[in-house]
């Protein structure tokens, strides 16, 4: 079978990876190698914590990816990828406990009560035992199943792995249709076409919009934090995602705009203030780089898959590309192999012309 995949973000790459394993001939189109919103993500794999602002569906997709699909994908790659499942921490200063309690109230309301084993409240001593480099006096919760992945390393590894297995076309695509992909010069024919263009697919997803995110990379040799940490503050929300060798990613803003310009002074001040508040030693960290990108987001902030004859478009991964991407890829493979009745998440699937599907 011949597949044309348009868009080489995490979704396009994972689909290419799975299809080559099935022995398909894959062509991957993307005009801007490595300049996509997947490269600017932080690789936070925190399905429970995402419940604060999202549907239970994202939690289910995320848990499945963390426990089954990521280990399976990583086992098939030649290099060892930085991937941790040591849990994550949600913290606040005792004065801001209302923020923490509100968060717990929301996720408890959304989660099935028998899944409550997924997190536990920590005493200050337990926090210090777990992460000695977090400043004393914080209170918080421990989310046992969560983790993080080095998504930049993963994307580079995937790309190298696929290099001699798929045909890369560094071309801007004008139209994506069943059986064909059209560029300015040429028309390419395939048995199946997969549209993973993100914000480029506005013609197919009428409620698609962009949410800008900004991220700061720090190198802090004096600070050792193992688990992703989210800090709640009445004004600034911060997450810190550890990487190998004392590198930490601080994120992330959420701004309703399609603006790819450099990080703003305001975001830098907010993120660094919150980080300093969590650990004053981070004042001596070095800012390695900053990143800005725009997340493709649908009105309900959930992913959506459109399908018609030999055509699949997947979009709206918002800030959850690495959290849910592998589960979506598996779901799409199931659809191709066994049809609609085999799907685990039929609520994600819509016909392209079904305008009702754009409503909720």
């Amino acid at each position: 079978m011949k597949a044309g995949i348009v868009g080489a973000g995490i979704m396009g790459q994972l689909l290419a990876f799975e299809l080559t394993h099935l022995g398909w001939d894959v062509t991957l189109f993307d005009p801007a190698a490595k300049n996509n919103c997947s490269m600017a993500a932080a690789g936070l794999l925190t399905p429970v914590a995402e419940l604060e602002k999202n549907d239970l569906l994202v939690f289910q997709l995320g848990i499945e990816a963390l426990s089954r699909h990521w280990p399976d994908v990583l086992a098939r790659l030649p290099n060892v990828i930085y991937f941790k499942r040591m849990g994550s921490l949600i913290l606040s200063h005792p004065n801001d406990q209302a923020e923490l309690l509100r968060f717990i109230q929301i996720i408890t309301a959304k989660m099935d009560s028998n899944k409550l084993g997924n997190y536990q409240q920590l005493t200050r001593e337990q926090i210090i035992d777990m992460e000695p480099d977090i400043v004393k006096g914080c209170c918080g919760y421990f989310f046992t199943q969560e983790g993080q992945i080095d998504n930049q390393q993963l994307l580079s590894t995937l790309e190298n792995y696929l290099f001699d297995k798929v045909i890369f076309k560094k071309l801007a695509v004008q139209r994506v249709e069943p059986y064909q992909v059209l560029t300015q010069q040429e028309k390419y024919h395939f048995d199946w076409v997969f549209d993973c263009r993100g914000l480029g697919a506005r013609d197919k997803f009428i409620d698609l919009r962009s949410i800008r995110g900004e991220l700061i990379w720090l190198h802090a040799p004096d600070v050792t934090i193992h688990r992703p940490v989210r800090l709640f503050h009445p004004r600034y929300n911060l997450y810190l995602v550890p990487r190998a060798e004392n590198v930490y990613l601080l994120g992330a803003s959420e701004i309703e705009s399609e603006d790819y310009s450099a990080i703003s002074v305001r975001t830098v001040l907010e993120l660094l203030t919150a980080a300093y508040y969590m650990q004053p030693k981070l004042a001596e960290a070095r800012i390695i780089k900053t990143m800005t990108h725009c997340r493709p987001t649908l009105a309900n902030h959930l992913p959506r898959i459109l399908y018609s004859d030999r055509y699949i478009a997947v979009n709206g991964l918002y800030r959850h590309g690495f959290l849910i991407g592998p589960t979506l890829a598996k779901e799409i493979i199931k659809f191709i192999q066994h049809g609609k009745q085999s799907l685990t998440y039929p609520q994600l699937w819509n016909k392209p012309n079904d305008h009702d599907s754009f409503q909720q």
């Binding site: 604060e52 919009r209 309703e256 705009s257 902030h301």
Partner: protein, 261 residues
């Protein structure tokens, strides 16, 4: 129906648009709240307003946009933001916010009055977010404000009406001014209290956007504002110190009805 800034509206609830979990939830909350006026922030979220799907979607709800000057600290800054908002949102309405203290986001009365004075001259309909200080409110009226929005308590604190005496005095002393309680409302009961005081409306954001179920909470506030207003218009009984049976006790002997000393 009631009038504010020459518009005839059905709802006395004004809703903010920040911090909702998703765009769908924001839209459903606005619809369920019944609000006719929604506040929008220009400083950050709305910078890029051309082809901005977020604003285009909200515009379809046919609410009046009330842009704010959130984040401004000085009069000149607020005036510039107001001019920008007038151009972008095509309205002369402006919720004038000039913050004087970072900790509790308290309005700076001096910069606020200065900005209000200038903006009224420039043809704006100014909705000043102010404290409950009577003299400040009178000064804002002298400068041409027809609407005042005193706080119940600091923004986002959810503490409700901290000084109900001051709010009652404002209502009593400024009977011809449109008064809206803005900021600090945490629960529907707080909104009822404000409306029972005779306030013309209530403006809130966090109490709905940060609720576990924002859409249902929007409905709770819709009902609260209706209940409080209806109570005010219906004329509430006054408190008294002695209990009086609501059922006439005709068959109780009069010496048994005597007040216990």
């Amino acid at each position: 129906m009631w009038n504010i800034a020459n518009q005839c509206l059905s709802s006395r609830l004004l809703l903010g648009t920040a911090q909702y979990p998703t765009l769908d939830i924001l839209k459903s909350a606005i619809v369920n709240s019944g609000a006719n006026i929604i506040t929008v922030s220009l400083r950050r979220q709305a910078r890029d307003t051309k082809n901005n799907r977020f604003w285009d979607d909200i515009k379809q709800l046919a609410c009046h946009f009330l842009p704010n000057t959130a984040g401004c600290r000085y009069a000149d800054e607020a005036i510039t933001t107001a001019e920008l908002a007038r151009e972008i949102f095509q309205t002369n309405w402006i919720k004038l916010e000039v913050i004087g203290d970072d900790y509790n986001l308290q309005p700076d009365p001096f910069e606020l009055a200065k900005a209000a004075n200038e903006l009224v001259k420039r043809g704006f309909e100014v909705f000043p977010y102010c404290t409950d200080d009577l003299v400040l409110c009178q000064r804002l009226i002298d400068y041409g404000c027809r609407i005042l929005m005193p706080w119940a308590s600091p923004i986002g604190s959810g503490k409700g009406i901290i000084n109900s005496y001051a709010l009652a005095v404002l209502r009593q002393r400024l009977p011809n001014i449109t008064l809206i309680v803005d900021a600090g409302i945490g629960r529907p009961s707080h909104a009822v209290q404000a409306m029972e005081l005779g306030y013309d409306g209530v403006l809130l954001n966090t109490a709905v956007s940060m609720a576990t179920d924002p859409v249902r909470m929007a409905g709770a506030f819709r009902d609260a504002v209706l209940a409080g207003r209806a109570a005010y218009e219906a004329g509430m009984m006054l408190e008294r110190n002695i209990s009086q049976p609501s059922t006439a006790l005709l068959d109780t002997l009069f010496w048994h009805q005597e007040v216990q000393k």
